[in-house]
């Protein structure tokens, strides 16, 4: 076969720019979705603590929906479905302001929030109840006991799983290409269809994904040893 593997042809000029824009978009999408996931995950955790059963059911339903429906379908529902329910001016605004990026960010963030909430909850569950009781007995209120005693320890335990969620979130941003967000996978296909250098283009994307993923994995295993609590 006369195929010559030539990385230079896809890593120069405008194709290099496309890759760089793609990487930047992937990272931006990861950041937006991550912030939303953390905020929503904490809100869900707090809501679940309120002793009013219907709220607990709501959180359970939220978590089960996001864990049992494929992420791509959630993205489609947000991108194709939700704007059709909005009033016309809102739709026009979305179309004019790169709505696909925003909606993909919302879909990815809300889905990750379900996992974040579960991770934080198992962190809180792993703190012995005596910690809370001891804090209450020396005069802390509910918020004080949670805020100064339980949560600092629980979050410490939740950090390694949360970093793993970050890795999954980063990988999942590649699904946004299905709705036309110009992230790394989308740009790679573009470079491929312009240059016909399929293997070079996908080799570049593969290496970029791997380098960033390995970075996140290294952070995860470092935090796992660094944050380990000495328990009695």
């Amino acid at each position: 076969m006369g195929y010559v593997f030539d990385l230079g042809s896809v890593l120069s000029g405008k194709y290099l720019d496309w890759f760089l824009i793609g990487i930047a978009t992937t990272l931006a999408l990861t950041a937006v979705a991550w912030c939303l996931a953390m905020a929503m995950g904490i809100v869900l955790t707090l809501v679940r603590m309120i002793p009013f059963p219907p709220l607990g059911w709501f959180v359970a339903l939220y978590v089960e929906y996001h864990r049992n429906v494929p992420l791509l379908v959630q993205i489609f529902l947000w991108y194709f479905g939700v704007p059709s329910l909005l009033p016309r001016p809102a739709r026009q605004w979305i179309n004019a302001h790169h709505g696909e990026f925003l909606l993909a960010g919302i879909a990815l963030g809300l889905a990750a929030a379900a996992y974040v909430a579960e991770d934080i909850r198992s962190g809180i569950r792993s703190i012995p109840k005596a910690q809370y009781e001891a804090a209450r007995s020396i005069g802390f209120g509910y918020l004080g006991a949670m805020g100064y005693v339980v949560l600092p320890q629980a979050l410490r335990i939740s950090v390694p799983p949360l970093i793993n969620q970050t890795l999954l979130l980063f990988k999942n941003t590649s699904l946004a290409m299905a709705i036309g967000v110009g992230e790394l996978t989308y740009r790679t296909r573009e470079v491929d269809s312009y240059t016909f250098k399929t293997f070079e283009a996908f080799a570049v994307a593969t290496v970029v994904y791997l380098v960033i993923s390995f970075g996140i994995m290294a952070l995860g295993s470092w935090s796992g040893t660094r944050l380990k609590l000495e328990t009695r």
Binding site: E64, Y65, R67, N68, V69, P70, L71, L72, V73, Q74, F76, L77, F80, G81, V82, S84, L85, L167, K171, N172, T173, S174, L175, M177, A178, T185, T188, R189, T198, F199, F202, A205, T206, Y209, L210, S213, F214, M217
Partner: protein, 236 residues
């Protein structure tokens, strides 16, 4: 919503089957099952290699697992899409491409589950087998794996759920499965995307939630069988 379902349920269920390729929910389930079945031997091999005392087996297996975990599934789908026709030497359909990508991807994740299952067994099991004079393979095949696989049943069902969810990516390469069928319905109707994708989401939810609940049930059974969990007491 009901009307859409009434008019298109067959397309959701089997795709264009009598007049075209089979697709829809049936294909989604078929692809998930076949991928999991095909990746199973690879996963066991990877898990055993990662637990092997020989470095030349352990290192490559570890590298493979980490590489797969570091890449999005979409990348595997595209690689399979471009590379498998070159290797096989003929055009490869969307379904086959997706199954190839899923087998590679799932093998790495399943091998981690199997490894955890093997490591979770008490060391006394292998020691007892060794002291009875069993060598590596009889110990692995007759003592370690049967117990480990039994304990892992709930995780395997969860893995099946993940695989079902991952087949939705077949849409990207136009493999005829459930998400692709929904996109077709949406392209015909044009005006009711929320309803169409809502039906799609509910279908996946019903299927996957049922399986997730089954996994929890099995998990309770297994830990009850071991007499491990508090609250469930087993008569001796």
């Amino acid at each position: 919503m009901l009307e859409i379902l009434q008019n298109n349920w067959l397309l959701f269920l089997v795709g264009q089957y009598p007049h075209g390729p089979i697709g829809g929910l049936v294909m989604t389930l078929f692809m998930a099952l076949i991928s999991l079945a095909l990746c199973f031997p690879f996963a066991i091999g990877l898990a055993l290699a990662r637990l092997s005392p020989y470095r030349w087996l352990r290192l490559p297996a570890t590298a493979i697992v980490h590489t797969v975990r570091g890449l999005p599934l979409v990348m595997f789908i595209f690689w399979a899409y471009f590379v498998s026709p070159l290797i096989i030497g003929r055009a490869v359909g969307g379904v086959e491409t997706l199954v190839i990508a899923l087998v590679v991807y799932e093998a790495a994740y399943l091998s981690e589950i199997i490894r955890a299952g093997i490591e979770g067994l008490p060391k006394g099991q292998t020691e007892a087998a060794t002291s009875l004079g069993l060598r590596y393979w009889p110990t692995t095949l007759k003592v370690v794996l049967p117990q480990a696989l039994h304990n892992m049943l709930p995780s395997m069902v969860s893995q099946f759920v993940s695989t079902i969810k991952e087949t939705s990516l077949g849409y990207v390469i136009s493999a005829h499965e459930l998400t692709f069928a929904a996109a077709q319905v949406n392209n015909v109707l044009l005006t009711q995307p929320f309803e169409v994708y809502g039906i799609l989401a509910l279908t996946y939810f019903a299927l996957c939630f049922a399986l997730t609940s089954l996994a929890r049930l099995i998990e309770r059974r297994i830990s009850a069988g071991r007499g491990g969990t508090p609250g469930i007491t087993i008569a001796a």
